[in-house]
């Protein structure tokens, strides 16, 4: 079982991202579970969401304490919340930022593999959100697919089209672009 933890801010769509990732994996025949940190969501406040992906039935109903993957929708959260808490050794961290991955160090984590991609600019290019509040939840999923190899980009794009009510194509294209951006 693989456990993914999303970190974002209220309004960025972290919960939706956890859901879309689950759908993508489900469409590839996996068992899935997706849920938000149970709280009162308020715009701007830090938000956590979770996805579990497994070949077997997922029975656990508890938060994720030892994630395999961290997805960071907002780089300003680094240092603001205990981001890497419980991250497994060699865990993956995907960050939405223009900066190179070398720029980041996570002393609490054991051999983290960091990938960065400027999702905000890509989201804006496709008209997703506004300059002050780009909606990056769909864009970053392309990078997640590439960095983790958990699901194909096609499944991500299909899941986006299934779950996002408007600008389906633009959202899917943004994901594709981050997928191609990462090497």
């Amino acid at each position: 079982m693989l456990e993914i933890r999303f970190h974002g801010r209220g309004g960025q769509g972290a919960v939706k991202a956890s859901d879309i990732l689950a759908i993508a994996a489900f469409n590839e025949g996996k068992r899935v579970q997706a849920f938000p940190f149970f709280g009162v969501e308020r715009r701007g406040a830090p938000v956590t969401a979770f996805t579990r992906i497994s070949d077997d039935e997922i029975r656990i109903h508890s938060y994720i304490y030892e994630p395999d993957v961290l997805v960071v929708l907002d780089p300003t959260l680094i240092g603001a919340v205990p981001l890497t808490e419980g991250l497994k050794p060699n865990g993956k961290i995907i960050i939405n930022t223009e900066r190179e991955s070398e720029h980041f160090s996570f002393p609490d984590a054991e051999n983290p593999v960091v990938s960065t991609v400027g999702c905000s600019a890509i989201a804006l290019k496709y008209g997703l959100g506004s300059q002050s509040a780009p909606i990056v939840n769909t864009a970053i999923l392309g990078a997640v697919a590439k960095a983790t190899g958990l699901v194909s980009i096609k499944s991500i794009m299909d899941a986006i089209k299934e779950r996002i009510p408007t600008k389906k194509e633009e959202n899917a294209a943004a994901a594709k672009e981050t997928y191609e951006f990462l090497r």
């Binding site: 489900f26 997706a34 656990i60 109903h61």
Partner: protein, 382 residues
Amino acid sequence: MKKVLTGNFATAYGAKAARVNVIAAYPITPQTTIVEMLSEIVADGELDASFVKVESEHSALAACIGAQSAGSRTFTATSAQGLALMHELIHWAARARLPIVLANVNRAMGPGWSIWADATDSIAQRDTGWMQLYCENNQEVYDTILMSYKIGEHADILLPALVNLDAFFLSHTSQVVDLYDQKTIDQFLPPYNPKIKLDVNHPRSFGALTSPEHYYEFSYKIQNAQEKAKEIIRKVGKEFGEMFGREYDLTESYRCEDAEFILVNYGTLAGTVKDAVDRMREKGIAVGSLKIRYFRPFPSEEIQSVLKNVKAVGVIDRAISYGHEGPFFTEVRSNLYGSKASLYGFIAGLGGRDVSIMDIESMVDYMKKEQPSHLIWIGVKK
């Protein structure tokens, strides 16, 4: 057809699949998305039903009672404060022998305001005559709603069902749910057709003043129906398994056969306990899990047969009866009267506090080392 659905959407799809005629409900966190989804389903014409958007939970159940008495299959959903507000009518629906299905998203009672998981709200409805059960996952929620109509509408039962799902752990958690073909569902659950109802061609009064000469027999008959329900629940659970591939019973035991320690649990904790059991088994500890689905009728026979020869039994309650102990613990203990098993009553996860695999391991650890106790608080900060 398999879909990834939250527990709340699974609930709404369950009501839809049961082809309910009248829905009356009032929004409350974390139940709200059930009513939103059902509004959509009804508005889109996917379900030919009346959705009464009442001004309170009290009126929600009252409207269901009125409609069900007049021959409709009805559905409502609520949570915590809403369920408490319904309480008077919870009694009413059972004594009127109306097989209403109520989905309750288990949530803690205020104050302080809490929207998180806790079964104290539904446990407080214990003595109302309702069948009361707890779901482990979203599939079970969907399946249970369908089965609850079938069981409740059985001529020997005629009792409403309180289907409980944990706040957020199910209500807002997406999981894969297998939605069945409507034709097969219709075979499983034919339209509701009560023998006696409000009918202008056969004018009767319902619920009139009832003297001590008769009230007692009505109570006796409710108890008989509850007892009989155990048999019908097993039968319908089997039939459901034959038709849809998932069989259900009053309880579900997991790796109990050779277990020295058994953890009794309900709701979403059941899943987490199973994972914990596997982990402990790998370490060589003989642990099993007994999930209780039905709190009413209470599965005494199953409890006795599974637990009587075990070394130690721990009951995990996400609820508390203040001044005493965990409500499930009380039931289990009374059913194990005379047994040599050491009994441990654990309180865990009140008000939505997460219960992790580590927490569950700590319970078994406690059972190995400490004397039996009826009240052990897991994770309380002292």
